[in-house]
Amino acid sequence: MMASTDHIGQSHRRENALRHLAGRGRFVTDLALPRMVHAAFVRSPMAKGKIVELDVTAAAAAPGVVRVFTAETLNPICAPWTGTLDHFAGMKSAPQNMLAEGQVLWAGHPVAMILAHSRAEAEDACELVLLDIEDEDAVVDGDAALVEGTPLVSDGIASNLCYRTVLETPGLEEAFSNAAHVVEGRFTFGRHTAVTLEPRAVVADFDPSTGQLTVHHGTQTPYQFQDVYAHQFGLPDNKVRVIAPDVGGSFGMKLHVYNEEMAVVAASITLGRPVRFVADRLESFVSDVHARDHRVSARMAMDAQGTILAMDVDDMTQIGAFSTYPRTSVAEGNQVIRLMGAPYTMPDYRGRLSVVFQNKVQTSQYRAVGHPIACAVTEALVDRAAEQLDLDPIEIRARNLVADDAYPHVSATGYQFEKLSHHAALAKLRQMMGYETLREEQAALRKQGIYRGIGIASFVEITNPGAAFYGVGGARVSAQDGAIVRLTPSGEVHCAISVTEQGQGTETIIAQVVADQLGVTPDQVKVTTGDTDTTPSGGATWACRGAGIGGETALRAGRRLQAQILAIAGAVLQAEPATLALAEGAVIDRATGQERITLAEIGRIATYRPDTLPEGCDNSLTAVQHFAPTGYPFDFTNGIQASHVEVDIETGVTRLLKHWVVEDCGRIINPLLVDAQIRGGVVQGLGPAFFEECMYDDMGQMTNASLADYLVPMAGEMPDIEIAHIETPTLDTILGAKGVGEAGTAAAGAAAMNAVNDALRPMGARISQTPMTPLRILTALGHV
């Protein structure tokens, strides 16, 4: 091993945390450019209707207004986009454009854009727009949408069904007919949304003199947007620069194409001046993608010993008026039906998926796409089976989890697992939480009328995705990443990489990985991300890939530069490069560890005195490397979570007492940041389990679209979260790291639902709808 491993595996604080704490963040929201105008949108107040009249004359004459656009004046410069992919055979969605054309399809649908010298003036002018909509009956419920005779969600579709598919193993029917026990359930998972600290923000700046479009965009996927803007507006992609500086939270919500961002770019191209849009909180609620919104009916077949034989699942997911572009709104449901039963040696399976349109905001990818639904349904049925067979929840899992030495393993849904560690995780969890003691305490407290519950949920997480996710379906979504690593003339290191930073610490772990390849400390490695002009093209941040794919890219780029440095050093020192290594900022003798020449000296010679190098010696101190995952289509991770709750059966209020996570993300690059990812993920899993829900009335109006009414989880409600690890590196890469960003979210809600139901068990009550609000718990108890 040539590289030292001094920094990989160590806790390093997030490099940008100090800057953010010092108030020196650079968010798109903070950006002000000369001659910049501000955009505000007139939105449909109706969930569905025909635009009868749209008169912008008064708005155009309002103080400070620079320009008013309607569909007629703005849409022609942008090619419409359609959120379908080929590998979801038969899926349908209507083409979309920036402003509503003739028909409004959800409450919040942008109808007109006003540009003014300030956002306040633009908003004032919005009030002067005369918009007359003849309202039509909105389709607000997915089941109702599929009933014959229900009106279509939009004129652009022939059916309210976006997509339907079935996965089925040949032995399914037989498994159920031979089963000793069958448990079943019907589940409802509410809509919720990301509520990022910084709302969606974009400043587009088109320079007509050069044809250069620069878009400052609070996104996690700048290269994807470079491609989208180039294609939709007919620009060469090297004339499109997307810069994503500090991003105040993203979570999957900021990688979709939105009407407003496209409209801002279109307006800048038309006006030849910078245009800014930053969503306010009210419009975020009615224009950011929402998540989940599933109704699932499922049953599980067991033999007499409690061995899982099969699952049969039907998921109906409600996605709003359009499938999102370019990743579609089908990916969520697709992962729901493919992740069911994933931790278990379940041989047979049937999963049916119906993806349905309605007149609401789109739903689409959000942290842990599909995972929380698949996990909650599977784990709830496992607990019901345990109850029916009178088995302890830990025991039934121990009987069914895929054995740690049984890999590689292929799930009933076709996922290939390289190596997972479910049993080791279960054993560690049991010990960490003091399971037996908690059960004794639970029994004792029940006698005093205190109802505590313990819930457990095993999970599998999809990470390090290759092109199988989107690319094979025709999406221009990159599954590879690239890095440029260079040694500066003074012997410091710079790394420009395509994975991006939204506060999770990507730049910090990249610096650790690169540092170890070049024998320097992470603070000597400056990492640049998020700018399509200065970093190589890549996938950036989606589906858990920063550490696993970005880290491997950085490692390989670092090793390439290491070889270049050693070649130059060998030439200078007249030594075989193989006898040299890098450590502590210098080239050392591999055998003795003695310093031979510093990196600063190498930098100086190669930069200022290349004439002193021998003939033919390459003085390059820049290395470029791209990396695309090969081997398994995904590197799955695994883990297990437990939740301890107390339910007040008089008020229905649940107190979260404690949460445990045992997680195996392969090689851990930075334990501090891995734990931070898990904790944040758990909170984003508990939020929708207890608090977060986008509520709609029967006219398709969202009725709690403000932070006064929409509940986000606060620190005070959150339990302590204890975390432990198992490390099973993937052998697909040198680094061996897998993803961890979605592990917390994947199973937190499932563990919590099992815990609440465990608490309610003495009353014979059961809840299978999230969020588990006090009212729903009281309803389950029969109190209301």
Binding site: V42, P45, C126, E127, L282, V286
Partner: protein, 153 residues
């Protein structure tokens, strides 16, 4: 959203009834009313400025009276558009019952709101609607009393 209430007014049902169709009285009584025009025997068109929580808007709308049983009951239905603030539409059934020299006015209204108004939550809107209704009847009562004491035109 359902609103229900009852108001005792210091006038006879006939006086109340004619006041309900009296443009001038309604204009005084409707909170934030900027203009009110009678467009037919049974319809009005109004511009009303309202502030509901953080949303302030000028609503333009039409109100239609139907199912009229003179002196006893009628249904008011209407729709108002507040531009970007959203819209409100609904219907109210009003019945008058004499009680000595006074009149009890009962109303049941079914109101739906959309756009920003809906987004802000029914909680806020219901409280505001109740407050506005209270103001309306207070103003209406005052207008009725004034009319009684004022000399005949």
């Amino acid at each position: 959203m359902e609103l229900k209430g009852s108001q005792t007014l210091a006038a006879t049902p006939d006086q109340v009834w004619s006041a309900l169709f009296d443009r001038a009285i309604l204009e005084q009584a409707i909170p934030g009313c900027e203009s009110l025009e009678q467009t037919s025997d049974t319809s009005f068109s109004a511009v009303v400025k309202l502030k509901i929580g953080p949303v302030s808007a000028r609503f333009k709308g039409d109100v239609e009276l139907s199912d009229i049983a003179p002196g006893l009951s009628c249904t008011l239905s209407g729709k108002g558009s507040g531009g970007i603030a959203g819209f409100a539409k609904g219907a109210a059934r009003v019945t008058l019952t004499p009680q000595g020299a006074q009149t009890v006015l009962d109303y049941t209204a079914d109101v739906a709101v959309g756009g920003k108004l809906a987004a802000l939550g029914n909680r806020l809107i219901k409280a505001t609607a109740q407050k506005l209704t209270g103001e309306f009847f207070a103003n209406f009562d005052t207008a009725l009393t004034c009319e009684e004491t004022a000399p005949a035109a």
